[in-house]
Amino acid sequence: MATDAELARCVAEGDAAAEAELCRRFAPRVHLYGLKHLRDEDRARDLVQSVLVAVLEAARAGRIDDPERIDRYILGTSRNLALRFRAADTRAEPTAPAGLDVAGALPPLDALDIEALLRCLQHVEARARTILYLAFSRDKSADEIAEALAMTPGNVRVVRHRAVAQLRDCLGVAEAT
């Protein structure tokens, strides 16, 4: 299998198959970055498209100085464009160049069944459930949660991690294939 750097070099030489493979490989990574920083599925998908368009255009034009560090280049592009998305607070309207199949390169993040999630949450110990809620729904840090629940921040982190693992097991969130 070609390395990321080899793919970047092939893109510079006009290899369409290398472009497709580069997109397939990096789309999920940019998508996760978008979900983390933009907190919206549609905007995350817009980010994927904008980033991949920018990266392919740069690679085709030979503007990626160090193909060995193509992953850092794509991360940097993701950071810059996510900042712009947030500053504009609006969805971008990227234009895909011919041959860029973002939808094909990006399987949707499987949404979990809400009733199943609630059933699984019932099996999580009450304090751990509260910690999950405060961490992910109220965006409270481990320090803030620890203060409210009279725990140590370290203990909050351990309980939070174990509770996520318990939910993942209960929901049968698929292992990577």
């Binding site: 996760l32 970055y33 304090r127 509260t130 481990a142 409210a148 969130v173 990577a176």
Partner: protein, 180 residues
């Protein structure tokens, strides 16, 4: 697909909870962009985080309620007085019931805590230490959602107003639910 130095799960959970220092979060992202295996592991945590974040919280603010009204949902609002057992029915055509827990003295509270329990067992289903509240109206809003039908129906809600230097002032509401 393997990784010689995989990110451990606890770190990925902290990353998705937004609980890493900026430099640590940057390091996680640098690793993820170069690693298929850890991207797959991160995706599994992201699914859980997204599902938890996507839930409407059981206790909502007046601003949240305005947003819900704007979505065209069929809402039923129940004024629930303290100390009076109030049975509520979640009718089939209703999207959301809003329980207005009233009669609360919340002025000057540092924070308000809402604990939802199963009345018959005392089991805590939900504990919100930083609940939104309306001090002026003396009210807390609880958003009862249809998928809560999977939970026990005999619900008791305790609202605690925390003030510095004093024990919390607790008010209890018994609200048995019927789902149509």
């Amino acid at each position: 697909m393997s990784c010689r130095t995989p990110l451990d799960d606890a770190r990925l959970v902290a990353y998705w909870a937004g609980d890493l220092a900026p430099a640590d979060a940057d390091a996680v992202e640098e690793h993820l962009f170069g690693c298929d295996a850890c991207t797959a592991a991160s995706t599994r945590v992201a699914q859980i985080a997204a599902a938890l974040r996507g839930q409407l919280p059981p206790v909502i603010s007046c601003a949240d309620l305005d947003v819900l009204r704007g979505k065209g949902l069929t809402l039923v609002e129940n004024a629930i007085p303290p100390g009076v057992r109030t049975e509520v029915t979640f009718a089939r055509h209703v999207d959301l019931m809003i329980h207005r827990l009233g009669g609360l003295a919340l002025t000057g509270a540092d924070r308000v805590q809402v604990i939802i329990r199963v009345e018959s067992t005392g089991d805590v289903m939900f504990d919100e230490p930083f609940a939104p509240y309306d001090a002026e109206r003396g009210e807390v809003l609880v958003a009862c959602q249809r998928h809560y039908a999977v939970f026990p129906r005999d619900i008791e809600i305790e609202v605690r107003a925390h003030r510095a230097g004093a024990p919390p002032a607790a008010t209890v509401y018994a609200i048995p639910h019927v789902f149509g």
